[in-house]
């Protein structure tokens, strides 16, 4: 085999999570009363547009979670040796971005380095901006620069538009066939927006994303679209790799939070008495410690542990991965209290309702009452908490990485990008592209998550029922 698959801890958990989500989707599809609120979500243009953007991020994140190690070319076939560098399928797809490394900073779409150097030119030494090794290397003269960029942009946009139109045509044909209408009639319904689902928004957002992707692909094949960083790495590549880190923190933390919050919250509300007292005591203690400090304290301790046990980790990626997992665990353990309090209050109310009393009178066991009567009735709270927490966690990663208790410094993350570049604003001319790219990517993900969360909350929260 020319490669060896590597399953990092977070990869495994991500795929467990994916299986869980798919199982949940399958379960919901079979139950009409569970499907109804999702149908409300699907009718909201903003939520659907946001879901598409989120979907694009998730696809990149998943591709980036299939890791492997390449076989060293000169190692024998019967006793293969593998590179210590852990790559992912995503790396293989955009291998050009990863390998085209310059010397140091260069501006977005530039063909010259950011700083002047002494060069040999026509036998004499001059001080000038050297050409980049890869960015714009196909150009002979600097004056072709602008026209080449314009041409590539145009080609990219055209390609994006073409793919968009093709997809739209397929969608229209399929839909017209399914509803057994003429293609023209369906198009008319589509243009007036009377489909019953936000078809226009979906098509618009999808086309915009395709246009953007087409442009990026065309430009990235010849230039560094977002410039390069201090060691000359492509900023677009770093930003894309950071997506996985953001998603992992946003989702795996919730995965840790849920069992704690659901278990303790429902148990406290349902059993009352000493169970309630103990759980309330525990969460008041955890809550009273300022969040950042508790996370910082715990991360410092994990750091000490990792540094004093270097033998457990065979690659740097595995080490960084364990630290990421530890960060998720710590953030999960420190952030379950809010949801638990909410679930406790709700369970306190539910346990006095007639159907729960009736179940108890029939001698139904506690486990069964909780799983059949209490849990399904608090599930909407859990779901709302998951989607609302996600964006906060993505933003928190940047802050924690700045404080120095976030992900491993060797890991690609928006927090590390910001942390590494914030002092460069003091340079002359300013190095802004690294910060700009990190903030832009983070903003896109968080905004999409927030808009989607709003849609989910409005559909599931019974208090808002129909008011909005």
């Amino acid at each position: 085999m020319s490669f060896m698959p590597v399953i990092l801890w977070t990869d495994a958990l991500i795929f467990v999570l994916m299986v869980g989500v798919l199982a949940l989707v399958w379960f919901i599809r079979r139950h009409e009363h569970l499907r109804a609120p999702w149908r409300v979500v699907a009718q909201r243009p903003m939520a659907m547009g946001a879901a598409l953007v989120l979907g694009a991020f998730v696809v990149i994140g998943l591709l980036d979670s299939l890791h492997y190690r390449e076989r060293l070319a000169d190692s024998p076939a019967d006793a293969p040796q593998y590179s210590v560098e852990v790559l992912s399928v995503f790396d293989a797809l955009v291998s050009g971005l990863r390998t085209r490394q310059e010397k140091t900073y260069s501006a977005p779409l530039a063909m010259q380095l950011y700083a002047k150097e002494f060069l040999e030119r026509d036998g004499e030494t001059v001080r000038d901006y050297p050409r980049l090794q890869y960015g714009g290397a196909h150009l002979k003269h600097a004056d072709e620069h602008a026209s080449d960029i314009a041409r590539r942009t145009l080609v990219g946009l055209t390609q994006g538009l073409a793919v968009g139109l093709l997809l739209f045509g397929l969608l229209a044909a399929w839909q017209a066939r399914r509803t057994q209408t003429q293609l023209g009639a369906w198009l008319e319904v589509w243009t007036t927006g009377r489909l019953g689902w936000p078809g226009r928004t979906v098509v618009l957002v999808l086309t915009l994303m395709l246009l953007l992707a087409g442009m990026l692909i065309q430009l990235a094949s010849g230039y560094h679209v977002f410039g390069t960083d201090k060691v000359g790495q492509d900023v677009l590549y770093i930003s894309l790799k950071s997506i996985r880190t953001g998603l992992v923190i946003g989702t795996l933390t919730t995965l840790v939070t849920l069992p704690l919050a659901i278990g303790f919250g429902i148990a406290a509300g349902y059993f009352r008495g000493w169970v309630d007292d103990v759980i309330q005591y525990v969460y008041t203690v955890l809550n009273s410690i300022p969040g950042v400090l508790l996370i910082a304290a715990a991360v410092l301790i994990v750091q000490v542990y990792i540094e004093s046990h270097p033998e457990i980790f065979d690659t740097a990626a595995a080490r960084a991965d364990v630290r990421l997992l530890a960060l998720c665990l710590i953030m999960g353990v420190t952030s379950w209290t809010g949801l638990a309090r909410l679930l406790r209050g709700e369970s306190l109310k539910l346990r006095t309702l007639d159907y729960v009393e009736a179940a108890r009178a029939f001698g139904v066991s506690h486990v069964r009452i909780i799983s059949r009567h209490i849990f399904p009735n608090v599930f909407h709270l859990v779901l709302i908490a998951i989607v609302l927490d996600f964006s906060g966690l993505v933003l928190a990663e940047a802050v924690l990485s700045y404080v120095g208790v976030g992900v491993d410094p060797s890991m690609y993350s928006w927090g590390n990008m910001i942390n590494g570049a914030r002092l460069e604003l003091a340079r002359e001319p300013v190095v802004w592209w690294q910060l700009g790219a990190a903030f832009a990517f983070m903003f896109a993900l968080v905004l999409a998550a927030n808009l989607f969360a709003d849609g989910v909350r409005d559909a599931f929260d019974p208090r808002l029922g129909g008011r909005r």
Binding site: Y281, V282, T284, V285, N287, S288, I289, P290, V292, L293, L294, A296, A297, A298, L300, I301, Q303, V304, Y305, E307, S308, S391, L395, A398, V399, Y402, V403, G404, V405, I418, R422, L425, A426, V430, L435, F439, M442, F443, V446, L447, N450, L451, D454
Partner: protein, 325 residues
Amino acid sequence: MFAYILRRLLYAVPILIGVNLLTFALFFVVNTPDDMARLQLGAKHVTPEAIERWKAEHGYDKPLLLNPAAEGTAQFTDTIFFQHSAAMFAFEFGKGDDGRDIGNEIRTRMGPSLAIALPVLVVGLMVNISFALLMVFFRATYLDLWGVVLCVVLMSISGLFYIIAGQYFIAKLWNLLPISGFAGGIDGLRFILLPVLVSVVAGIGSGARWYRTIFLEEIGKDYVRTARAKGLSEVRVLFRHVLKNGMIPILTGVVVVLPLLFMGSLITESFFGIPGLGSYTIDAIQAQDFAVVRAMVFLGSFLYIIGLILTDISYSWVDPRVRLQ
């Protein structure tokens, strides 16, 4: 009333003990002082003697819980737990790695933290409430819809962006205010303006949106309908009735954070070079100064519990229906 406060204070003691035990477990049991010493000394200088010396310097060379070598009560008092954890109840925090007294540092740094945090709270509250009231006044129009969208957009921007952009544009490019620094007295005003401005803007998104839902909840109630029925103008209804009643959840939400203002904000203070408790904490985290981090954890939870008690009292104060017992 007095008895109630006393009982709540007594209830706070077991929670503080819990915090104390938790930090003790985190800092001394999960990682032994030896590990800390190794991390502090760095890979090159680790020798058994150096570790012992480091432990002795920091007073970590004693047994954790029970000292069999000592006699009488000293068996319990001459231990790490008693000298480094239990001592915090008397606000004896010991010394940081730089040799300075932590309690002293806390006292001198509270002022600058408060100088930033208090204006941020007051100005932020006024700005957010005005913005929220404006959206409620134009409720169910496009102005309201786009106001909410603007809030979501503002919420989605990283807090670091506000600080970095504020420093870059206002201080560096336009030279309106100093980039960072701090001074006491009236002279310090120009240093305070930028951090306060940035923090307030960063808080508008979530704050205004939250207050808007509070006001919207109030506006659906019966007394608002009565007020309209007697012919009050919409502006008067909003300011005389909705604002007054909406302030109850808003103010009680504020009271709980009041004591924590002393702790300052980690990020803001470190970016703007404010010599407050926030930057002290962040420096300690980055230098891995465990004694300071431990002290700040304890102080933070202490202040939080004070905040909880104040919240309970303020509930009974603003809402006569709530009786303390």
